[in-house]
């Protein structure tokens, strides 16, 4: 159901970004980029208190007329941003949460691979690292495509 999924590293550079090919991908990249500001604002606002209490799921970051952007931050400040089509009203918050959870799980699987250096792009071009991650993201995006 997602139209675009992005994984952004702690230093705010993208580790993984993938959009549905139909749309102009640059637009999604730009949306993700602008959403980073919102994410930062949220974590700084909540992060004053104990980091533990900070919710991983950030919720709706900002809506546009066509899309809604959701955010999720891990404890290691890796951000997941998901752009969802607004017309898809059936998506409840819980579903978004579960999608982020799946993303997080796949991401940790990638992390567990000792051959993956944290900070590398999550490549799935080769028969390797990130293939499972990519497949999982595809499964999230397929219904829209």
């Amino acid at each position: 159901m997602a139209v675009c999924v992005a994984v952004i590293a702690k230093e705010n550079y993208p580790l993984y970004i993938r959009s549905t090919p139909t749309e102009n991908e640059l637009k999604f990249h730009y949306m993700v980029h602008t959403s980073l500001d919102v994410v930062d604002e949220k974590i700084s606002a909540m992060g004053k208190a104990l980091v533990d209490q900070r919710e991983l799921y950030l919720g709706l970051l900002y809506p546009t007329e066509d899309y809604k952007v959701y955010g999720y931050v891990t404890n290691s400040k890796v951000k997941f941003v998901m752009v969802v089509d607004s017309s898809n009203t059936a998506l409840r918050d819980n579903e978004i949460r579960s999608m982020f959870r799946k993303l997080h799980n796949s991401y940790t699987d990638v992390m567990c691979n000792p051959f993956y250096n944290p900070g590398d792009r999550i490549q799935s071009r080769f028969v390797c690292l990130g293939r499972a991650f990519d497949n999982m993201v595809t499964s999230m995006m397929i219904p829209v495509c």
Partner: protein
């Protein structure tokens, strides 16, 4: 019987047939049924068959040894060629065609016949070494034909001696058949797969010819020396083939039979042997991997951390991308560490990759970490121990058919292995908490979700260890509550083992009057529970058998949750108990009852049962008042009542309530787990503590009570049966309890969802 000279073609053919008939894998004697079948398939008249059997000495010996078998095959060939059957004829007839067997039954033999016949056009060189059939002295080895073969191999630029490494040293090479298949896409030809099947019938103990031939053909492939470099750190070059005999998959071959013509030379067929699983690890390979594992991690049940594994596999000089892919395939539980099985799978894949094989998309079944004990037969060993994986590698068409049949065989194997009425493995999604619990028990901390499609898996080594513990201790891991967990095969096989052990042990306990080893009910499929309980039981049991019960009590930490220390001591002391020392101990220990669900100390409950029954007339306790005074301390039902009464009394103590709750919700979790759950449950279930407390208290008590059954003296059959009855009652009670708890859980979840919805409605407004 005089010596038999076989041509190399015949040699191979016969050894293949021998292994086909050798379904019991004895390598010495073939099953008569199979042999007879084979001979019938040879389409010879019955008297001829009888004559052959007599001539080869089988009737004399009463069985078909390898030499007898070979002679018999030769005689079949003689008979089929029309020559008179005489003992001398086996050696005198020159250029005897290979015996033909009707394809309908033994397709592989026809395959072989075809393969051995028409291979002159096949490329590939023949390696110089023909391994002698194992153990049979009478049949002359291929050494006779070795000379003829030698010149051929020399053509191939492979040092004839090099690939032939002693079995102990070399990990067998990857399935060159597979690779060959990829190199010869024209393998649609029926002869090609036939041809390919030839070498793979060698029993692997000595399959050096295959390996050397394989090396010979891989001209384009990285020659041994670089491999040796890598393996030199590991000691030996991986040269021999990965393929192993797979008698079970023989039937899958569907190639058409072709007539065997006189063969001139044997060539190793690289063609994909579709019935063989190219990913199967041979014994020597496995041994090699195990040794490598030991160099990194001496404990075979331990784990290799990711960093160590990374270094190790980096030495193989494979590109990092491929190594990471291998890791993704082999780290089955995604925890960043490799167990022995995972390590073997990874190593195997590395070897395969180094030999030029493409990596599969998914882990082949034969490489999956096995949950059942590795002492299983070869057939079982092939099967993955898990549910939900169709293991056929995408890029290995040859392996598809073997994996399919093995996959098909798996479900039936699964059923056969779990005979119990309890549970069959059902893949469930693991919640993080449960996974965490499991992982913490097994390894170091910090694992995430397991694969959603994988069942509740435990590290095979740990599992097998605990299975052994379980069976040795014969304890029912007393988790009779089916809280939705499904166990893996290993767990379901526990009841069988335990059942069998129980019967055995009963006789034992009869002899030793003070043996407190009672037949426990079959364990419930609660992995964590059984694990923790089994560990405790193990301690308990070993102590018990060694000494008297007094020792037992001292050993495990004191028991379970609820019981009211205030009430216990007084009446407890007076309570007569089977285990004499127990009561005194138990009277003192109640005060120390930790939150830990240690099931060892059941006598606690008996004490309380006795004491509390008198004091508190719980509705349920009233149901079985007669049970308590009559039955021995091991009465779980009594303890059940006790626990219930306890739970009632302790409603006042909120501190213990969460403990109960935690026990109930996470039965028999190791210490860290209850702590976590307790916090959570406190938050969630505080309003419902009272109701929960009672139920979960009962639950935990009952659960804890299960292991104490061993405590009771099972010398009397009657007592045993009585305890069985009690356990059954307990089961029903617990099942009811479970359903009630499920209902409560549903209610709570609904509340939670409604709260979330409300929050969601409020949230957008706060953002904007």
């Amino acid at each position: 019987m005089e010596g038999l000279t076989l041509s190399d073609a015949e040699q191979k053919y016969y050894s293949d047939l021998f292994s086909y008939c050798d379904i019991e894998s004895t390598k010495k004697v073939v099953v008569n049924g199979r042999v007879l079948e084979l001979f019938r398939a040879a389409q010879l008249p019955n008297d001829v068959v009888l004559q052959i059997m007599e001539l080869c000495g089988a009737t004399r010996l009463g069985y078909f040894g390898r030499s007898q078998f070979y002679i018999a095959l030769k005689l079949v060939a003689v008979a089929q060629s029309g020559f008179p059957l005489r003992v001398e004829s086996i050696n005198t007839v020159k250029d005897l065609p290979l015996p033909r067997f009707v394809a309908s039954k033994n397709e592989q033999e026809s395959r072989h016949a075809a393969s051995y016949s028409s291979d002159s056009e096949n490329q590939g060189s023949y390696s110089g070494v023909i391994p002698p059939p194992p153990g049979r002295g009478q049949v002359k080895k291929g050494s006779v034909t070795h000379d003829t073969v030698q010149p051929r191999t020399s053509a191939d630029a492979q040092e004839p001696a090099s690939p032939v490494v002693s079995p102990q040293q070399s990990p067998p090479t990857s399935p060159h058949t597979w690779r060959k298949h990829s190199r010869h896409p024209s393998g649609g030809n029926s002869e090609r797969p036939l041809a390919g099947s030839g070498p793979f019938w060698f029993p692997f103990g000595e399959a050096q010819s295959g390996s050397s031939a394989g090396d010979a053909v891989w001209s384009g492939h990285s020659p041994p020396p670089p491999q040796e470099n890598w393996v030199s750190f590991a000691d030996t070059p991986p040269t021999s083939t990965l393929l192993t005999m797979h008698p079970a998959s023989v039937q899958d071959q569907t190639t058409v039979r072709t007539v065997a013509s006189a063969t001139t030379a044997i060539e190793i067929r690289r063609q994909s042997s579709s019935y063989d699983d190219p990913w199967k690890i041979t014994d020597e390979q496995r041994q090699y991997y195990v040794n490598q594992f030991k160099t990194i991690q001496p404990d075979l049940n331990g784990f290799i951390p990711g960093s160590a594994a990374k270094e190790f596999f980096t030495k193989s000089k494979l590109p990092i991308l491929e190594l990471s892919h291998i890791w993704e395939l082999s780290d089955f539980d995604k925890d960043g560490a490799l167990t022995l099985d995972e390590f073997c799978a990874a190593f195997h894949l590395v070897v395969a990759r180094k030999n030029g094989y493409d990596l599969p998309e998914k882990l082949p079944e034969s490489l999956m970490p096995k949950l059942i004990d590795l002492e299983d037969s070869a057939d079982v060993g092939d099967q993955p121990g898990e549910v939900g994986y169709s293991g056929s590698p995408a890029e290995a068409p040859p392996s598809k058919s073997p994996s399919m049949p093995s996959l098909n065989q798996w479900p039936e194997l699964n059923q056969s292995s779990e005979d119990t009425a309890i549970v069959h493995p059902v893949p469930i999604r693991m919640t993080p908490s449960k996974i965490h619990m499991q992982e913490m028990e097994l390894k170091r901390t910090g694992s995430d979700h397991t694969n959603p499609t994988s069942p509740l898996l435990v590290k095979p080594s740990d599992l097998s260890e605990e299975n052994k513990i379980n069976s040795s201790v014969k304890f029912a891991s007393g988790n009779t509550v089916a809280d939705g967990y499904s166990s893996s095969d290993s767990f379901t096989s526990d009841p069988e083992q335990i059942g069998s052990n129980v019967t055995r042990q009963r006789s034992h306990s009869g002899t030793s009057p003070d043996n407190t080893a009672p037949p426990p009910p079959p364990p419930r499929p609660q992995p964590s529970h059984s694990r923790s309980s089994s560990l405790d039981m193990n301690r308990t049991f070993t102590v018990t058998t060694g000494q008297q019960q007094a020792g037992v009590v001292a050993h495990p930490p004191a028991v379970p949750p609820r019981p009211q220390p205030s009430q216990a001591p007084g009446p407890a002391v007076h309570r007569p108990v089977d285990a004499d020392g127990l009561m005194t101990h138990t009277s003192t220990s109640p005060q120390q009852i930790p939150e830990q669900p240690n099931f060892a100390d059941f006598s606690q409950f008996e004490v309380f049962a006795a004491s509390n029954v008198n004091e508190e007339q719980d509705d349920e306790a009233e149901k079985h008042p007669e049970v308590l005074p009559v039955e021995k301390a091991s009465d779980p039902a009594g303890s059940l009542r006790v626990a219930k009464t306890d739970s009632k009394t302790e409603e006042k103590t909120a501190a213990s309530a969460p403990a109960n709750v935690s026990k109930g919700t996470t039965p028999l979790a190791p210490p860290p787990k209850p702590v976590r759950r307790r916090l959570k449950s406190e938050d969630e279930l505080r309003p419902e503590v009272d109701e929960h407390t009672q139920k979960t208290g009962v639950l935990a008590a009952v659960l804890a009570s299960q292991p104490s059954i061993p405590r009771s003296i099972g010398k009397d059959k009657k007592a045993i049966q009585a305890s069985i009855r009690r356990n059954k009652e307990t089961n029903t009670v617990l099942a009811r309890l479970n359903s009630e708890l499920q209902q409560q859980l549903k209610d709570v979840l609904e509340e939670r969802i409604s709260l979330e919805v409300q929050l969601e409605q409020l949230r957008p407004f706060s953002h904007l």
